[in-house]
């Protein structure tokens, strides 16, 4: 299979309810890797049921291949339910931690920005500030964009969790 140009492909959010057992993550992940698909993010979450986890997978692809992947996911014995959250009303959250350059003359600006985004100050050092923000993916994107001019030293995003709206 030719390498996919993932830039031009649509983004999908797939929520997979699975048995909370070892090996399930590998089974799910390998369905994507076997088709040359790079997962944008994958979050494994505990749920209200102890023996059930939910994987929220964000992936780029075209309708036909994603349809096939969903069917293949459904075939896995440990997969209880596959829901496509793409383009339907959901609430989504993710968390980002950003370590940003913060010289004394820029520091108060950064704090202000953090306040607007309801960030918590996770760590302070003489040259840097580390901020944590939670929110929907767009909120996070905007926050990162605004911090870029200061020089981001390290950044980690958790990947999203997604619940259907009632």
């Amino acid at each position: 299979m030719a390498m996919l140009n993932t830039d031009n492909l649509k983004q999908y959010v797939i929520s997979v309810k699975v048995e909370n057992r070892f090996g399930v993550l590998a089974r799910v992940a390998s369905l994507f890797s076997a088709r040359g698909y790079n997962i944008d993010s994958l979050t494994v979450s505990a749920t209200e049921q102890e023996d059930v986890s939910i994987m929220t997978i964000v992936v780029r692809g075209d309708d036909r291949v994603i349809e096939q992947v969903k069917k293949q996911l459904n075939k896995l014995i440990d997969v209880i339910k596959v829901s496509d959250h793409t383009g339907i009303p959901t609430v989504e959250r993710e968390l980002v931690m950003v370590k940003v350059n913060a010289p004394p003359n820029k520091r108060s600006e950064i704090y202000q920005l953090g306040e607007i985004f309801r960030a918590d100050i996770a760590d302070i050092s003489p040259r840097t500030v580390t901020l944590g923000v939670k929110g929907d993916p767009e909120h996070i994107d905007n926050f990162i964009e605004l911090l870029k001019p200061y020089g981001i030293k390290e950044l980690m995003r958790t990947g999203r969790v997604s619940l259907l709206k009632e």
């Binding site: 699975v18 048995e19 070892f22 090996g23 590998a26 089974r27 390998s30 076997a34 036909r64 349809e67 096939q68 069917k71 293949q72 459904n74 075939k75 896995l76 014995i77 440990d78 997969v79 209880i80």
Partner: protein, 559 residues
């Protein structure tokens, strides 16, 4: 009770009659328990042979094949057999030994991560981590392997689990909330399909291995009787519909008949039943069935609209869906179409030139096998030209009488599969139609057939080449026969005799019938027939890979 005994007791509960395998360090406790087991155990001479034999046993009988192998190399030797079964939806339960739990992940002696290795080639697999789960896992494995779209399930058993102690309680029920195969077709979809059928003018049925697996051949015949729609089958669908019937188009695809490919290509409605639009069937997808609507009946939702977009998908068991459709369908008016097909069949038969300076043509051997067995044998094949000639020139009329590695195309499959098939069906003659290349890939199993007095006939179409690759080299690669000449070969007759089998060499047309009759008269040991056939015979028709039916090559192009 010991874990090893729990395994044997569970196998008894599953009514296992025959098991294949090979011992090794970490499975000694299980073999200890197997020593007094009330079912047959067949010790093959290589683990790959064990898996193929269990696969042949399963395909011939419809039961689940059972295998045991040790950890490490024992387990990796099973991999090709498991992948073969997975591609062709064959129910297997494969037990592998594993190092003790505390050593897992430490690169212990003969340790491999076999559940990791086999994840993409099993329907499901298990690493047993708690002896309390052992019986439940075995119960689930047999259920998963044999239901829905069948497939292989692997159970990896650490040696300290086999040696552990727990009470034996075989579960009565199964609770798998993530696994609920759908058997009944959606009534609305079935009705829609029947409407399409009633108004079609040029319909064709394309029946695959799923018809054989779901034991739906009777239902298919009744459906055809009512509708008069012509039937082509895939390689694995051979036997699903009698090829002697006037409505039979026989096999389609790369080496299918001209009339099957032509009819499918010209159809206005293709009814796919238990088939999956493999690339060897469709050729160039963009030009496949340009004018046809598609109905697809399959138990596996993931097979529907995978390669070809489907107008009416029906997810369900072929047997039940066909029975339901036959009840409500109205026969289409297709007299003209039937007449056109009858003419196509008459004018474009499968053919070959008998003449090659007295050398036997391989197609003739297959035809003579058909005649001498009255078409009542189980034919196993290896992979390559032998497989295609076996598919083309023997007329299959019954399900489970053609056993071949379709999806994976595994050379070395046919002979061990024939051993399994013969054990499953002692009442039938089992013949492995082989090539001189493939047969050398699992020749070690000859001693197993001798030991169990199985009169499997191995008909080697010996042309001194890896013939199918040579054919491609001839047609597409400037006739450069790079490393495909294997005439530096053993004496197969002496080899047979060394193992205690019978062996005959056949070099002229006159000898073909007597040799087959002689072989069929032997009933207590395997027979190797070394047919020295025409060296550069090609398989025709041939649709070159990735091209459309229009590019079909019908016969030798004179250079």
């Amino acid at each position: 009770m010991k874990g090893a005994d729990i395994i044997v007791e569970s196998l008894k509960k599953e009514k296992v009659e025959c098991m294949f395998g090979y011992p090794g360090g970490v499975v000694i406790p299980i073999f200890h328990a197997l020593h007094n087991a009330p079912f047959k155990f067949v010790l093959t001479r290589h683990e790959q042979g064990a898996v193929h034999a269990a696969d042949g046993y399963a395909r011939a009988s419809g039961k689940t094949g059972v295998v045991i192998a040790t950890s490490g190399p024992g387990a990796t030797n099973c991999v090709t057999g498991i992948a073969t079964a997975h591609m062709d939806s064959v129910p297997l339960v494969v037990f592998t030994g594993q190092v003790k739990r505390e050593q897992i992940g430490n690169d212990a002696f003969q340790e491999v991560d076999i559940t990791g290795i086999t994840r993409p080639i099993t329907k499901h697999n298990y690493l047993v981590q708690d002896i309390r789960d052992l019986a439940r896992i075995i119960k689930e494995a047999f259920y998963i392997a044999s239901t829905g779209r069948p497939g292989p399930v692997l159970i990896d058993v650490p040696v300290d689990i086999s040696n552990g102690e727990y009470k034996f309680l075989y579960p009565e029920t199964i609770n798998l909330r993530g696994y609920k195969p759908v058997y009944e077709g959606h009534p609305g979809q079935v009705k829609k399909a029947c409407q399409l059928i009633a108004s079609s003018k040029r319909p064709v049925i394309y029946a695959g291995g799923g018809v054989v697996i779901s034991n739906a051949t009777k239902e298919l015949r009744e459906f055809v009787k009512k509708t008069g729609i012509p039937v082509t089958t895939t390689l694995l669908g051979l036997g699903a519909f009698p090829e002697t019937d006037p409505l039979a188009l026989e096999m389609l695809g790369m080496h299918g008949t001209y009339y099957a490919n032509h009819a499918v290509n010209e159809s206005d409605l293709l009814i796919a039943i238990g088939a999956r639009f493999d690339d060897r069937v469709t050729g160039k997808i963009a030009e496949f069935i340009p004018n046809a609507k598609v109905i697809h009946i399959d138990i596996d939702p993931a097979s529907v609209s995978k390669n070809v977009l489907v107008d009416v998908p029906i997810v369900g068991d072929c047997k039940r869906v066909l029975a339901g459709m036959t009840e409500i369908v109205t026969a289409p008016e297709i007299g003209e179409w039937q007449a056109e097909i009858e003419k196509l069949k008459r004018e474009n038969p499968l053919t070959y030139d008998m003449n090659d300076g007295g050398r036997i043509k391989p197609q003739h051997v297959v035809e003579e096998i058909y005649r001498q067995t009255n078409g009542d044998a189980i034919i196993c094949t290896e992979v390559g030209q032998n497989q295609m000639w076996a598919a083309q020139f023997y007329k299959y009329t019954q399900p489970r009488t053609f056993i071949s590695s379709g999806g994976l195309g595994t050379m070395g499959y046919g002979f061990p599969a024939a051993i399994g098939a013969q054990l499953a069906r002692p009442d039938k003659r089992v013949i492995d139609i082989a090539g001189d290349g493939s047969i050398q890939m699992n020749i070690q199993e000859l001693i197993v057939a001798v030991q169990h007095r199985l009169p499997v006939i191995i008909a080697i179409l010996n042309n001194g080449f890896l013939g199918m690759v040579r054919q491609w080299q001839q047609i597409f690669w400037e006739k450069r026969y790079s490393h495909t000449c294997i005439d530096f070969a053993p004496d197969f007759v002496k080899l047979a005799e060394a193992y205690g089998a019978a062996g005959f060499r056949i070099e002229t047309y006159d000898e073909v019938i007597p040799a087959l009759q002689q072989a069929l008269a032997i009933t207590d040991r395997p027979i190797v027939l070394d047919f020295r056939v025409s060296r550069e015979e090609n398989v025709y028709p041939m649709v070159p890979a990735g091209q459309s039916f229009k590019e079909i090559i019908m016969r030798e192009l004179l250079a």
